[in-house]
């Protein structure tokens, strides 16, 4: 009785897994298909793979610089968010001051703010100071919303380190800041790494801010994607190739941070 339930449950889960994964696998297959295989009305699961789509879009259509832009934007955003956000999180974890929780909530609103509402005035502002169409504008925009993730996640990680550790480090003659940099940061390293990877993912996947702030120079991969779709004669093999490059690194990263994913996605509310 119990055993048959279990078989039924595993069967259902297997079906769901197929539904969850097949679309992505199809995209992966499409990126290795020739034109005829893609346009065949009968879906072709088996075909002679071709590798033409990748060079066609990344070299001939010059999408390779977009990958570089995505990388530079994501890495710069991550480094900035961590360097600015982690110290603030440490203060939230250790210190007490009037209005602390209000300020903490205020940081949350930066992550929750609808991009469309912030991007419009940000666009006007960056136009004013001549930063639109540069990587800097996107890095700044991404940093503001990633900051809140760092502050919210790292507060929890820092709070888990007993205060006695700070105390011991200071007994050894370290200054308050010295204790933070030399002792607390290394102890929080796993959490810090997970937070950094999540920042990277969020920045890499982001579309709307980048789409509004940079049209040509400095646009990341996500912004380059819509340009490949035309009303007629979209080259789906090339589109799929871009989509694969835009998603595969993230999936690998996901496996790395799975342990901390729950915490990151719930702003530290659920430990997972």
């Amino acid at each position: 009785m119990n055993r048959s339930y279990k078989i039924l449950a595993v069967g259902v889960l297997a079906c769901i897994l197929v539904i969850a994964l097949t679309p992505y696998i199809w995209m992966l297959l499409t990126s290795f298909k020739g034109r005829l295989d893609i346009l065949s009305p009968e879906p072709r699961w088996f075909f002679t793979p071709t590798f033409d789509n990748y060079p066609a879009v990344f070299i001939d259509k010059a999408y390779l610089p977009l990958v570089m832009n995505s990388l530079v934007i994501s890495i710069a955003t991550t480094v900035l968010s961590i360097c600015i956000g982690a110290p603030a999180a440490y203060v939230f974890a250790r210190n007490d001051f009037p209005g602390k929780e209000d300020l903490f909530f205020f940081f949350l609103t930066t992550r929750m703010a609808p991009p469309i509402s912030i991007a419009v005035p940000l666009f006007m502002f960056f136009t004013l100071i001549g930063l639109t169409d540069t990587i800097y504008s996107v890095v700044i925009a991404h940093t503001t919303f990633n900051l809140s993730l760092v502050v919210w996640m790292m507060r929890g990680f820092f709070a888990e380190i007993p205060k006695e550790i700070d105390e011991a480090a200071m007994m050894d003659g370290r200054s308050r800041l010295g204790a933070f940099v030399r002792v607390i940061i290394p102890m929080a390293a796993p959490g810090l790494a997970a937070t950094a990877v999540l920042c990277f993912i969020l920045s890499w996947n982001e579309f709307l801010y980048a789409f509004i702030l940079v049209a040509f120079e400095g646009r990341p991969l996500t912004v380059g994607i819509p340009g490949l779709i035309t009303p007629h004669g979209t080259l789906w093999g090339q589109v799929a190739a871009v989509a694969v490059v835009a998603t595969l690194p993230i999936l690998i990263f996901t496996f790395l941070v799975q342990k901390h994913l729950v915490r990151g996605l719930t702003f530290g509310a659920v430990k997972g």
């Binding site: 339930y5 449950a9 259902v12 889960l13 769901i16 969850a20 994964l21 346009l39 009305p41 879906p43 600015i84 956000g85 110290p87 603030a88 440490y90 203060v91 939230f92 007490d96 001051f97 009037p98 209000d102 300020l103 940081f107 930066t110 929750m112 609808p114 991009p115 469309i116 509402s117 912030i118 419009v120 005035p121 940000l122 006007m124 940093t143 809140s148 929890g156 205060k163 105390e167 308050r176 579309f207 994607i225 819509p226 779709i229 789906w236 835009a246 993230i250 999936l251 996901t254 799975q258 994913l261 729950v262 996605l265 719930t266 702003f267 530290g268 509310a269 659920v270 430990k271 997972g272």
Partner: protein, 330 residues
């Protein structure tokens, strides 16, 4: 609002410094020895605060101001004269497309998040009850949610192509789709399709977090209930659901806030079409601002989007404040 809060800190800051110079004056509040002193904590917390003030509160203030002007890049006569609340008045009273988008977005949020919750909860429960090696399986389930939303839009556009889409083909074969036509140009199919894609993408999110909640449930209440002869259904309703309530609230709110802001996928899939049938609020705000270049009115629309999200956000904060939810999650 926040600048007030920060300025509230500043005067006390000087008071602390003052206290240090007068050691015989008793401390008003006993403070733990290992709290950072103000002098050391300010440089740590200020950069983050200032950055957010400049690049978030600044734009927000500017948007609020722009919303009260007639600024438009498309019409040279409208060069940003102050018009008070005219934009909002027009928005609320005479803009059927705004209200169409608004209710469309509300319906989208309710249906999509509702379905995601039901499916996500069921899957999490199945994994929790019947699967031993949960981590590997959960990771595989997560794939749709980790993809860039733009890529999700692309994938489904490819799958649902009229003449050669893989999913279209099989749906037609099973008889669920009358003819192999383009789903996204059909007024009656486009929103259900977008909702289905959103459910495909975000159900794993619900699963992941509910599963984390299930795995952290304490054992004793269930053991006691079994001893008292309570069946599985009673245990589910009377023990499991109440224990999970903070996490359920958290998941629903986070998803609702995100769904309300939905832009990327729909932009790639339909661009709001056909006509305005799938024009969610974000897409409408985008169109007013960057297609019509009607920036004053667009700012008013963006302001309304922000307002709704802010309300949901403060509900989130009140309902599942991170400490209490953390205690439940442990």
């Amino acid at each position: 609002m926040s600048s007030q809060r920060i300025s509230r800190i500043a005067p006390r800051e000087s008071a602390t410094l003052h206290r240090e110079h007068v050691p015989d004056k008793p401390l008003q509040r006993p403070r733990g020895r290992f709290l950072l002193d103000r002098g050391a904590s300010l440089p740590l917390i200020l950069p983050a605060t200032i950055l957010v003030l400049i690049f978030l509160v600044g734009p927000f203030g500017y948007m609020t101001y722009t919303a009260m002007t007639d600024l438009s890049y498309a019409n040279p006569d409208q060069n940003g004269a102050f018009v008070g609340l005219d934009n909002f008045r027009h928005l609320v009273r005479n803009d059927p497309i705004f209200w169409h988008s608004f209710w469309l977005t509300i319906r989208f949020v309710l249906v999509a998040v509702g379905l995601e919750f039901v499916f996500g909860f069921a899957i999490a429960w199945l994994i929790w009850r019947f699967v031993e090696r949960q981590r590997l399986l959960t990771t595989l389930f997560l794939v749709p949610m980790m993809l860039a939303p733009v890529a999700v839009g692309l994938i489904w556009r490819l799958l649902l192509q009229g003449d050669f889409g893989m999913v279209t083909h099989y749906l037609h074969k099973v008889g669920l789709l009358s003819q192999s036509s383009a789903v996204f140009s059909s007024p009656s199919l486009v929103m259900p399709t977008i909702i289905a894609i959103d459910v495909w993408q975000w159900t794993p999110f619900v699963t992941l977090i509910i599963l984390a909640g299930l795995m952290s449930l304490p054992k004793p209440p269930f053991e006691a209930a079994t001893m008292d002869g309570a069946g599985p259904w009673r245990q589910f309703v009377d023990i499991l659901l109440p224990l999970l309530r903070p996490i359920i609230a958290l998941v629903l709110l986070l998803r609702a806030i995100d769904a309300f802001k939905e832009f990327d996928k729909v932009f790639i899939l339909t661009g709001g079409g056909p006509g305005t049938i799938s024009e969610l609020l974000s897409i409408y705000a985008y169109r007013v601002n960057f297609k019509n270049w009607d920036l004053g009115y667009g700012a008013a629309v963006a302001f309304m989007v922000y307002l709704v999200v802010l309300i949901m956000c403060s509900v989130f904060y009140k309902a599942v404040y991170w400490k209490s939810a953390g205690a439940a999650g442990r």
